[in-house]
Symmetry: C2
Subunit: 721 residues, 2 copies
């Protein structure tokens, strides 16, 4: 890096002009340049490492900084997720009452401290008083019931109000799930402040408030957003990641995996979620690192132990009953239901989503006190045998009541979810979707069980459903239904099956889960190919080039590029012969983000590409700092300075800011190949040539507008650059 | 597709000239063209589908053909894997004796048929006779023992000899694991016959023989090869996959996942193995399809049930004891051992690898009769409590014997593996590597257990290792050691952890496994960055552009491209003005696989690119079929035919075979970006321009030679195109 002339303005490593090579808000990054910049940096450090011990240590610490950052992201996200769980638990309990020993204890902790609770009634102790007891002095009677109910509603409304106000006042970016925006950011878009410290603080607080208020929402989306905020903030500790947008996005991809890992205790599922659903650029290195970060986060959360058991599993399934091939039919039915629900995309009680799902997934042993297990008890236990406590039983009155309540809950949950989604609070989509699916699945499962009980001699059930045998597991149906609905909404497949499998620990049920999620994806795709995140991205007009969809139109690049046949010619700079004033006039008369540099206007042979921002900053800087640079100074992009007249002002040499290797395609390139190049290389723009002459330019936005036009949508719905 | 002039020789869909657009053996495919061809095909079918019901049905069947193919691949591979397991089991038993009811019964099946076996001695019945009984009439005494032993050796040698002979005589491609070659094929190389029906038949038979002979080898590699052969053969049923090399490689990627899925009963691990280790191009669509195929295969194998239990798990681990943070230190030690072992890459008894691993992974309950569980029995069981049968115990004489045997087995297994690897039989690498690691891990585990038993009051063990408590699980150490050694050899991380986790069913042990595999990868990488498959690819000189390694040298494209500064100018065709004779002379005087087409020799402005093979086939065809085409005929690549003199022969129009959108980079493009473009787009060659003029060409082979040169290797070791 020695011996450079004074004309070389920009050095990728030393960055002498602040701003050159950076991006403005709501712009798209150039992946190839960013990665190339990082490789330059890395090469420089490796070369220097041979010179001194300090440089060698710097090189080693640089090589391990990625892993250290992953460790920090995992620890911070895991700790925050644990904190959110504990705070939400405490606030949820506060809706019911208060602890007299100290208001900071939750119900369980309060009674555990008091030592007066018995083993049977662990959640009853004198130190924990309901609001009615505290206000009226008694916990009996209709009046106390009404007081408790009113206090419950009061707290719920207060929490919701606080959440909405905080989001509106301090961090509007903290609302919703955040996954569509994170997808867009990972694809290379810049939204300043979306992953900032204010968003992190407000999102964490309002997520606790929203969850405790009892609104119908999940926390996996917000936790992904929280983990990404942590990662973005921690990136500032390392130059490697602070200065490079592409490298930072690798860390954010891993953070998305961490978010799902802590939301469900599913590290492998989290990594696959990031790979399948969220990430744009996911090299193998990121796969290893995100797996490491997801594990650290899951391990940290397990150490904090918010669920009160040392498992990593949120909804642990205790049944390991086999399933029968015939059951694939109802599983596929659930898949179709899930797909339809996901396609309609509008679609729950006082019990929180996670608690409801957990109860629906469970199987009934004879001791279970849940109404869902209100089967008629066999008159003589010795008839069915001691080990057959899980055998099929006829439904009793309790079960019928529970089923009616479930059907009502289905309708009610659909309504309340619409309300919640309209509210500007942090909200996830997984738990509410899973709850709808779990209710539908449990209803079908109980139906199948009763059918099998009363028709165990029919040709369908014969041979595997003898009376007293355990052949239908309604909990499994709930599990499959939950997966189907979530799959319909998000169009996830592999990552969903792995998350469900990690969530429930049931390795045996991969095939039913797969059958249901594939069916659900196919059905939902038949009604429209985009999942809820893609729909959200499109509605917001973000410049997101979907990597999953194939470009199927037969247009050529010449049909999509600008200028169009009727437009004025492309604005180009020549490598010599233009003055500073002419360049400034050209830049100001257009709104383009960059200009191609050609040998001469006549030949239109391409030399390079200059970004508007870099051009303006460099000219401004030269006018201020460099002596003799006036409007009449010549701007030169050539390697060697041209000879100028003795009285002429010295030329302004700008080769340093020119991209010497702009991407080009020919005008005859089919658009599907051009789109492929844009996606795979992460381009921002590409120049179009015909027989070696520059003809036009094609940008990501041009492609998105063209795609919108083909799909008969308003091409102007693509809002940003 | 109507109204084309007679001059348009090639239509991507109707393929009138056989050979145009296909590849020769030992050549690299052009991914972009192949995918573009497939999109053209798909577009044509979609457009036609609006015209008639038959076309609509064709369109629907085309859309589902990928899933159908996956189903068939899963079924066929699962059935073959089941067949191999059953046949290998039968042949292994045959080394010990024969069934009198029918020679086609294996030992267990024979005694099960006879109904004379008791519950305690299920494998002893009069119908199953050892060779000594059959030959000498008695199974007692030293003589019978010697006869049995000699027969055992005789069969083992016979099987090995048969395997070697069959491979040598019929299908030399059937030897070894096949994964390096499959990696190369998936990256776009063509090796005809490597995935053919003969290879499949011979590999299946010899794999059975090699496994039954008791050689130290695994079957995961060969099963991946077998699954890929199945996929390749089944591709011939569907035009979509038969005619398109890129689409076929998507199916092969899924087949690699199927191979691992049936080898270990690990569908998720198989998919991740394909993604992390084998595949080159792995779009999300392939992720879904390979997961589906892997599940179908695992399900088929489970239905055949070769392991005699209905689990998908090969080595089922029954312990769920927690592990302590302090134990991470010995786990990391095992990782270092694995890394060192993988770096040295040379490195087993009469027990087969899989049986040995299964025994090493197991924990000891008091009933276990294995010598590895030869602990001193507590004098009074009530002292330690009834539930503590797994508590730490002092080692007994049996255990010490077992440990000596293990240490000897470690040395012996290392020797025999070298012999096996040198043999030309189908052999995998997973099981032998895992066996070495499992032995080392078990030895360390037992050591730790004894240390904890005798020093349970020292500061390390205090608090979690009270006497009589179960604190060290030697089986876990064996598991971690197996993962570490396998990771060192193959450099897998995430897929390895997931395979181990699926293999053993132990969700709790992800963190120890991850710690060991990451350490092992880091240690092995410190000694050399390439895993065993990459080393094998390099030794064979296959043109494989490693997607994991970053190109870190600061060269520019101009330094790597051809022609070099001192070489003659690049051989180019002009778009008009050359005669058929001139073109033929140019093609024959060079050995290049393709020629750029320029506007004129003076301007060197690029128009397109023509492949040598297509050019020769088209000229040959025109000379034979097209009237008036002689050596003096003009070859034209322009859109409109030039006016020719009335007496001149008619021009030969070849625009149809010209690639109108060749990829170009500028001479100033840093090589790291060029390498990135080659990898991501799967290019075969790229043209180099300077200021809009054609300057040279750069091919995959040029890049590989340049990389070999940088690494101080012989650039001529890259053998193929």
């Amino acid at each position: 890096m020695n011996g450079n002339g004074p004309s070389k303005l920009v050095d990728p490593l030393e960055d002498p002009l602040p701003g050159v090579g950076t991006y403005e808000d709501f712009n798209t990054i150039d992946w190839v340049r960013e990665k190339s910049k990082d490789r330059d940096r890395h090469r420089e450090i490796t070369n220097k490492s041979r010179q001194s011990t300090v440089a060698l240590l710097h090189s080693v610490s640089d090589a391990f900084s990625g892993w250290l950052l992953m460790l920090l992201v995992g620890l911070m996200s895991g700790a925050l997720a644990g904190g959110i769980d504990i705070a939400a638990h405490w606030l949820t309990d506060m809706k019911g009452g208060v602890c007299l020993i100290g208001f900071w204890f939750n119900h369980e902790h309060c009674c555990w401290k008091s030592n007066e609770a018995t083993f049977q009634d662990r959640d009853r102790c004198p130190q924990w008083q309901s609001w009615a007891e505290l206000i009226t002095g008694t916990s009996e009677g209709a009046f106390a019931y009404i007081v408790n109910y009113l206090m419950y509603i009061f707290w719920a409304l207060l929490f919701s109000f606080l959440a909405v106000t905080l989001v509106r006042a301090f961090a509007p970016y903290a609302c919703g799930s955040g996954i569509p925006e994170i997808k867009t950011i990972l694809s290379g878009f810049i939204i300043r402040g979306y992953l900032g410290k204010w968003t992190l603080i407000i999102k964490t607080i309002t997520l606790v408030l929203a969850v405790s208020s009892g609104l119908s929402l999940g926390k996996e989306g917000p936790l992904v957003h929280v983990a990404c905020c942590c990662a973005n903030i921690l990136c500032h500790l390392f130059t490697k990641y602070r200065k490079n947008e592409a490298k930072r996005r690798e860390v954010l991809s891993a953070a998305a995996a961490v978010g799902v890992s802590v939301a469900f205790g599913a590290p492998i599922g989290g990594v696959l979620f990031s790979l399948e659903e969220v990430s744009y650029y996911f090299p193998l290195k990121t796969l290893w690192r995100s797996f490491f970060a997801a594990l650290v986060a899951a391990f940290t959360l397990r150490s904090i132990n918010p669920f009160g058991n040392s498992r990593l599993v949120l909804f642990y399934v205790e049944f390991h009953a086999p399933w029968h091939l015939v059951e694939l039919a109802p599983f596929v039915l659930l898949g179709i239901f899930g797909g339809l629900w996901g396609a309609r995309r509008e679609c729950y009680t006082r019990m929180s989503g996670a608690e409801l799902i957990s109860e629906l997934f469970n199987d009934c042993s004879l001791l279970d006190s849940s109404q869902l297990c209100g089967y008629k008890q066999p008159a003589n236990t010795s008839e069915t045998g001691v080990g057959n406590s899980l055998a099929d039983r006829p439904a009793g009155a309790g079960l019928y009541t529970a089923l009616w309540q479930l059907a009502l809950a289905l309708v009610f949950k659909m309504m309340i979810t619409v309300i919640t989604f309209g509210m500007k609070v942090p909200s996830g989509l997984f738990i509410p979707s899973m709850a709808v699916g779990a209710i539908a699945g449990r209803l079908l499962g109980v139906g199948m069980e009763q059918l099998a009980y009363y028709n165990h001699d029919s040709f369908i059930f014969k041979g595997w459903c003898s009376p007293g045998a355990d052949c239908i597991t309604p909990g499994l149906y709930a599990m499959v239904g939950a997966a189907a609905c979530l799959g319909g909404v998000t169009r996830m497949t592999v990552s969903l099956v792995v998350i469900m499998f990690e969530l429930t620990g049931g390795l045996e049920y991969i095939v039913p889960l797969m059958a249901a999620t594939m069916t659900s994806k196919w059905v939902a795709d038949a009604f429209g190919r985009e999942g809820i995140y893609e729909a959200h991205i499109r509605l917001n007009g973000y410049p997101f080039l979907e990597p999953k969809e194939e470009f199927e139109h037969s247009s050529l690049t010449v049909d999509v590029m600008r200028p169009k046949r009727s437009d004025p010619a492309l604005a180009v700079l020549t490598q010599e012969g233009m003055t500073v004033g002419q360049v400034e006039a050209l830049v100001e008369s257009t709104h383009y983000s960059g200009f191609p540099v050609v040998v001469s206007q006549e030949s239109q042979r391409l030399v390079g590409f200059v970004l508007r921002r870099d051009l303006l900053i460099s000219i401004d800087n030269a006018r201020k700092r460099q002596e003799g640079v006036v409007s009449a100074s010549q701007v030169v992009f050539t390697e060697h300075a041209p000879s100028v007249a003795a009285d002429a002002p010295p030329p302004l040499r700008l080769r340093g800011i020119m991209d010497l290797s702009p991407f080009t395609v020919t005008d005859h390139t089919p658009m599907d190949i051009t789109v492929d190049i844009f996606r795979k290389l992460g381009l921002r723009q590409c120049l179009v040539t015909h027989n070696g002459r520059l003809l036009g330019i094609i940008t990501k936005k041009d492609i998105l507008k063209h795609m919108a036009q083909i799909a008969n949508r308003d091409p102007d719905s693509i809002l940003f650059n």
